[in-house]
C-alpha cells in the first residue's frame, strides 16, 4: 500500500518521525505532529511530522459520514480533498474501535501496518513518535508498533496523547502494557513539548517520560512555543480547509465533574496578539484562513479574547476578500452590559461555530456544577448568536448527582419554549454523568450521597434520590427523542452513546 505522507522517493533520512495514528474522526489536520516538529528541530534534529490518520480516515469516510463533519457544513470544501474509499469502511471502523477482524479488511489492514512501518523506517529515523488522539487509536498503535519493532527493534518508539490514558490522572494501563511488552520505549504524558525535547536530548528522567507525574507548561513557556509547522501535510486530503490553533491550556472554571482541571491545574493563555500573529503567518504559509481552536475555551481570559476578536474584526474589515473565520469552545457568563458589543465584534471577527458547555438546563444543577449563569443569560446569548448568524453547539451532561425526573421534565419544557432556535443550535446530550477519579464529585461522594457500583465512572447510584445507571441512560434517550421530535438539530455521538445503549440493554444495573 502506498502511504503518501510517508513516501520517501529520494531515500531521504530524518532523525525523528512524528505521526498521528488512525483512527480519529477528524476532517481537519490533527495538530500534534505539526506542533512537535519545531520542538524536535530546536534540538538540532530533523523531523518529518505527518498526519497519517487522514489517509485512513478518508478510506473510511465514504460510508461513515462524520457527525462532526455533518454539523460543520459551513466549513466544507468538499471538492478538493482526495477520497480513497475502502469497500468495507464499517468493518474498518469496527477494527479501530474494538480490534476485531473481518475477511473484508484483514489483508488490507495488514498491508497498511506493514507498509506504514516500512515507509517510516525508510527514513531511517532514530525515533518514531506516535500521537494518539483518543482510545480509538490504540489497536492501530499496538499493531503499528509491532510491525516497526519486528523490522527494526532498535528504533525507539515514543507514544503520547490523550488516547494513551484511560483517565487523565493515575497510571495508564495501555501505555504500561505497551512498555512491558517492548512495543514502545517511552510514553510521554501531559504537555509533551518539553518532555519530548528533553527525551531527545537524553534526559529520560524528565517529568512526564514514563512517569505519572508531569510538568505543566506555564504562561511564559506557552508564549515561547514555536508555531506549528504543517509543511509535511498535504492539505488536498482534507475535507475541511482549516487549521487547529491553541489559545490556552487549562480552564478558568472549577466544575465539579471535570477531570481535565485535575490534570491541567492552572489556566495558561497566549495573548491575543500572539494568536493573531500565528493566524496571519499560517495563512501566508498555507493559504488557510479558517481556524479551529483546540483548547477547552477561547474566552477564558476575557481581556485577551477581546483583544483577539478586535484584531480579527479590524483585519476582516480591511481585508473582506481574505477574511479569517474561527470556531472553538466558549463559555457563557452571566449577561453583562458589554455583551451585545462583544457578540457584534465576535461576528465581525469571523466566529462561526461555538461549542458551549451548558451541561444542564436547570439553574440549580448548573450552579451546583459550578457554572453560575442563569437561564435568562442562556437565552440572551443564544439570541445574540442567532442575530449574528453564529452557530452554537450546546453540550450537556445528563444525570447530575442531584438530578431527578423533575429536572428532566423542566429541561423538556425549556426545549418546548425555545424551538425558534432549533436551526441555530445543535444539541449534544452526550453520555450520562461519569464520576472520574480526583474530581470534586469523586472526593465528595459521601456528601453527595453517591456510591460507585462498578469500575466505569458512569457506574454510580444515588439511593437518596433513586438515581441509577439505567434511569440516567433512559433520560438521555428521552431528551434526544424529545428534542428531535421538536425539530432541533441533535448530535448523535457514537462514542458517548455507546455506554448509554449498553445500559439500556442491561437495565438491571
Amino acid at each position: 500500500m502506498h502511504i503518501d505522507c510517508l513516501s520517501n522517493p529520494d531515500n531521504q533520512q530524518v532523525d525523528v518521525i512524528i505521526s498521528t495514528v488512525p483512527w480519529t474522526d477528524s476532517a481537519i489536520p490533527l495538530m500534534a505532529p505539526a506542533a512537535l516538529k519545531p520542538m524536535v528541530e530546536q534540538v538540532g534534529m530533523t523531523c518529518l511530522g505527518v498526519d497519517f490518520n487522514v489517509e485512513i480516515y478518508n478510506a473510511t469516510l465514504y460510508q461513515h459520514e462524520s457527525t462532526a463533519s455533518k454539523q460543520s457544513q459551513i466549513f466544507y470544501n468538499a471538492d478538493v480533498y482526495n477520497l480513497v474509499p475502502h469497500k468495507s469502511p464499517g468493518h474498518l471502523i469496527n477494527f479501530f474501535f474494538h480490534g476485531v477482524g473481518h475477511p473484508d479488511i484483514n489483508d488490507w489492514l495488514y498491508d497498511m501496518f506493514e507498509s506504514a512501518a516500512r515507509a517510516m523506517l525508510s527514513w531511517k529515523p532514530k525515533f518514531i513518535g506516535l500521537s494518539l488522539f483518543s482510545y480509538v487509536s490504540r489497536h492501530s498503535c499496538e499493531w503499528l508498533c509491532y510491525h516497526i519493532k519486528k523490522l527494526s527493534p532498535d528504533t525507539k518508539i515514543i507514544i503520547g496523547g490523550a488516547g494513551c490514558l484511560e483517565q487523565f490522572t493515575g497510571p495508564s494501563t495501555f501505555a504500561d502494557n505497551m512498555l512491558e511488552r517492548g512495543l514502545v520505549d517511552y510514553h510521554i504524558r501531559g504537555d509533551g513539548e518539553h518532555a519530548l525535547k528533553q527525551l531527545l536530548l537524553g534526559n529520560t528522567s524528565y517529568p512526564g517520560i514514563n512517569s505519572v507525574d508531569w510538568k505543566e507548561i506555564n504562561n511564559q513557556e506557552l508564549a515561547k512555543l514555536p508555531y506549528p509547522d504543517y509543511s509535511d501535510y498535504d492539505f488536498t486530503r482534507y475535507k475541511k480547509q482549516m487549521l487547529g490553533i491553541q489559545g490556552s491550556r487549562g480552564c478558568v472554571r472549577a466544575c465539579t465533574f471535570c477531570d481535565y482541571i485535575t490534570n491541567w491545574t492552572k489556566f495558561q493563555w497566549r495573548t491575543g496578539e500572539v494568536i493573531f500573529e500565528e493566524m496571519k503567518l499560517q495563512y501566508s504559509k498555507y493559504g488557510i484562513r479558517v481556524f479551529q481552536f483546540q483548547d477547552t475555551l477561547t474566552n477564558g481570559n476575557l481581556k485577551e479574547f477581546n483583544k483577539l476578536i478586535q484584531l480579527l474584526a479590524d483585519y476582516n474589515e480591511s481585508n473582506p476578500s481574505e477574511s479569517f473565520h474561527w470556531g472553538g469552545y466558549y463559555i457563557f457568563r452571566e449577561q453583562s452590559a458589554n455583551d451585545e458589543e462583544m457578540w457584534r465584534t465576535m461576528a465581525k471577527s469571523g466566529a462561526q461555530i461555538l461549542s458551549v458547555g451548558i451541561e444542564n438546563l436547570n439553574e440549580d444543577i448548573r450552579y451546583a456544577i459550578g457554572k453560575k449563569f442563569s437561564n435568562k443569560s442562556i437565552t440572551f446569548h443564544i439570541e445574540q448568536a442567532r442575530l449574528h448568524n453564529i452557530r452554537l453547539d450546546l453540550l450537556f451532561i445528563v444525570g447530575y448527582v442531584t438530578e431527578t425526573q423533575h429536572h428532566i421534565d423542566q429541561a423538556k419544557i425549556w426545549l418546548d419554549n425555545h424551538v425558534q432556535y432549533q436551526d441555530k443550535i445543535l444539541l449534544s446530550w452526550g453520555g450520562t454523568l461519569g464520576i472520574f477519579p480526583n474530581t470534586w464529585l469523586d472526593r465528595n461522594k459521601a456528601r453527595t450521597g453517591t456510591i460507585m457500583i462498578g469500575n466505569s465512572p458512569q457506574q454510580w447510584v444515588n439511593p437518596s434520590i433513586g438515581s441509577t445507571v439505567a434511569l440516567r441512560a433512559q433520560w438521555v434517550q428521552d431528551l434526544i427523542e424529545h428534542s428531535e421530535k421538536l425539530g432541533y438539530n441533535v448530535m448523535s455521538n457514537q462514542i458517548d452513546n455507546h455506554f448509554v445503549l449498553e445500559q439500556l440493554i442491561n437495565t438491571d444495573v
Partner: protein
Amino acid sequence: MNAVMIHDGKECPGFSVDLTLPTKLTLVVSGKNMKLDTKIDKDGKILEDLYIKIIGVTLDGFDPGVNFLHQKIKLVTQDGKVLTNPYLGFNGHVDFIMDQPTVFQQVMHWKNVA
C-alpha cells in the same frame, strides 16, 4: 490428583513456542484414567476431576480474545468426539490451526466477527 503440562520434557504451567506461520500446533492430553481420575457420586455429580484448563493463548503477545477460548478450542477425544471448550478433561488432542501467513492476519482471523 495433579495434572501437569509437559513441554520439551519439562513440567510447566504454560509455555511458548517459536512458530513460522502458517502452521499447526497440536496439544496432546494423555494419561488420564477416566475411572480413577474423575470421581463421581452416586448421582453422577463430579466430585473431583483431573483436567487442564487453557486460561490464555497469545500470539506474539496478542490475545485472540475470549471468544477464541470458548469457541475455537476443540478437543478431539480418543473416541472421536469433538468438545468445544478450553476445559480439557479427556484424553485427546487439540489442533491449533494457524493457516494465515502473518501474526496480524492470524489474530484477526481468530477475532473475525463474520
